[in-house]
């Protein structure tokens, strides 16, 4: 039965071009949504990496479940606004509990994150089981999301104009907010991430900045959630910044490269998903990881090949 293991035919045009031309109806909004998710996660993720709190995104995304369930019960249905607020509240609450544990107990941040997100996720699972009769939440969807669904929603109309599907509009708004916050608060974020002491002397309220960043993180994660799910959103937060870190040591270029990484991984990821006929979000994350590996190999200064060449030159 060797035929079962054969991969589908590989046709570069069909994978990299066709989704955006002939099949634009299907993949157009998926691509836009994917890019908005990956770019907002990547830009915000840069600051998480710089502040050594990359796993905070993990904490927020897993802590969202109890908030979703409670919002579902309280609002008595799948009201998007209520669900969104519930998820946002429990995500932000998780970061506050983690900060509190870190400040008031001898626990370090990694342990505090481990306790809080697993406990909140477990509470969410229990709630889903207890109220199974009244809740129509698919835990599988919570974990993995479904990017293709967003494209199936009918687009919003504004007067005579046909705009994007509602989820895409929301995510584009989130991306615009992230870009705006970074553009306007660039120096505040920079100095408070690099050196909180000097930031305070410059009049920055470091605690408020951190809280704002956590609020933005919760907003991004919750918005990205329905598209990519709780597990993969973490990859989207970390991979672009991690890849960019291998290629530059200046913050503005770090941001540009993270956005480029987001665009490339969505482009190639959709191709991979078409090729293998699989879910979109995992394919995008896999391509994001491939880009990371490529950067690791080929980075002009710190890359494996450059290091090997330098060593060879020293030895010869």
């Amino acid at each position: 039965m060797s035929g079962q293991w054969m991969l589908p035919a590989f046709d570069l045009h069909a994978l990299l071009v066709a989704p955006w031309t002939e099949q634009r109806e299907t993949f157009g909004w998926v691509g836009v949504m994917g890019f908005c998710v990956a770019a907002s996660c990547g830009l915000l993720g840069n600051y998480l990496l710089l502040r050594r709190m990359a796993l905070m995104g993990d904490a927020v995304s897993h802590s969202v479940l109890p908030g979703l369930v409670i919002a579902f019960l309280v609002s008595g249905g799948r009201d998007t606004g209520a669900m969104f607020l519930g998820a946002l509240a429990s995500g932000l609450g998780a970061t506050l509990i983690i900060d509190f544990l870190q400040a008031r107990t001898p626990l370090k941040q990694d342990a505090a994150i481990g306790i809080v997100f697993s406990a909140l996720f477990a509470i969410g699972v229990l709630l889903t089981v207890v109220f199974a009769g009244q809740i129509d939440l698919d835990p599988d969807c919570v974990l993995n999301g479904e990017l293709l669904f967003v494209a199936l929603e009918p687009p919003v109309h504004w007067g005579a104009w046909t705009l994007a599907p509602p989820a895409v509009l929301r995510m584009a708004g989130v991306l615009a907010l992230v870009v705006g916050v970074i553009a306007i608060g660039y120096r505040i974020l920079l100095v408070s991430s690099f050196d909180p002491g000097i930031a305070r002397a410059a009049g920055v309220r470091v605690g408020t900045v951190r809280l704002g960043l956590m609020l933005l993180l919760s907003l991004v994660v919750v918005s990205a959630f329905e598209a990519v799910g709780a597990v993969l959103v973490v990859a989207m937060l970390i991979l672009p910044g991690a890849t960019a870190t291998l290629l530059t040591d200046r913050l503005p270029r770090l941001h540009l490269l993270a956005v480029l990484h987001a665009a490339l991984s969505v482009w190639w990821g959709v191709g991979l998903a078409v090729w293998l006929d699989c879910s979109l979000a995992p394919a995008i994350v896999v391509m994001g990881a491939v880009l990371f590996a490529l950067a690791w190999l080929f980075a002009p200064r710190g890359g494996l090949i450059a290091q090997g060449l330098r060593r060879a030159r020293v030895l010869s």
């Binding site: 710089l50 120096r187 690099f194 002491g197 002397a201 009049g203 530059t248 913050l251 770090l254």
Partner: protein, 263 residues
């Protein structure tokens, strides 16, 4: 004299009253009182765990205090902002951070420029002048991890200079630097003092403490002594500060002997 209303005497540059700090119920600073005017170079010395760094951080509002207060020109820290500068220990920041030497020095000017405005050409010029002063101008565009320990320390110093503050708190600026860097840092500190700045510098080495500072704060949980170096640098007071450890006392004796003893 403490009354904030129209007093003929201007308020002291720094006044610390009954400052108490505790970590998890264990006091690290206890009832610290101190008053000082402009143009003073103060060394803070004391054994490990005496609360030297904590005192600085408490003055900058970086650690929660359990009691007491700190005033600058009669006002709390929150109201004087960039008039008070801070040089943290080198290890407190991540030197892999994706910024250049110039970026870090410009951070010193954020308080003056306003946080939402781009640094102007004049700010860049000022930052370059500060880098020149610590002999780091050729390194302005380097990423900060590509520097030696002494150079990193001088980047912090240049940033403090760029702030043009009137009071500085410096946490071990001499830690891990070579003799030449140490000498150039001392000369920068003296220049600042001569301009009328008051500087508090945490320092570890007793023999040099005596040469570098015109005032000393001997600290061990509370203030053991505070005053001009000639009056405070005595075997008896140092012994009280350090709890009479033998190796240290011989070091002190050596230092006193080498420089003719206390007057």
């Amino acid at each position: 004299m403490n009354a904030p209303t129209a007093s003929p005497v201007p308020p002291p540059v720094v006044e610390i009253h009954d400052l108490t700090v505790a970590y998890r119920r264990k006091p690290v600073l206890w009832g610290v009182d101190l008053t000082i005017g402009p143009g003073k170079l103060v060394g803070i010395i004391g054994p490990n765990g005496a609360g030297k760094s904590t005192l600085i951080k408490a003055c900058m509002g970086l650690v929660p205090t359990q009691g007491g207060w700190v005033r600058f020109w009669g006002r709390p820290f929150g109201e004087v902002g960039s008039r008070v500068g801070y040089v943290p220990q080198r290890e407190t920041v991540d030197w892999d951070f994706p910024v250049s030497v110039m970026d870090v020095v410009l951070m010193g000017r954020y308080g003056r420029i306003g946080l939402f405005r781009r640094p102007s050409r004049a700010d860049r010029e000022a930052a370059r002048a500060c880098l020149e002063q610590v002999e780091l101008l050729p390194y302005a565009d380097r990423q900060i991890s590509n520097l030696s320990g002494g150079q990193q320390q001088r980047v912090f110093l240049a940033r403090a200079l760029a702030q043009e503050a009137e009071v500085y708190f410096m946490d071990e600026p001499f830690a891990g630097v070579d003799a030449a860097t140490e000498a150039s840092i001392v000369s920068v500190l003296r220049t600042l003092r001569d301009r009328g700045c008051t500087l508090f510098v945490v320092h570890h080495d007793l023999p040099t403490a005596r040469q570098y500072f015109d005032h000393l704060l001997l600290l061990n949980l509370n203030v053991v002594a505070f005053g001009p170096t000639a009056e405070v640098f005595t075997a008896e007071l140092l012994q009280r500060t350090y709890g009479g450890r033998l190796t240290l006392l011989s070091e002190v004796a050596q230092a006193l002997g080498a420089q003719g003893g206390p007057r």
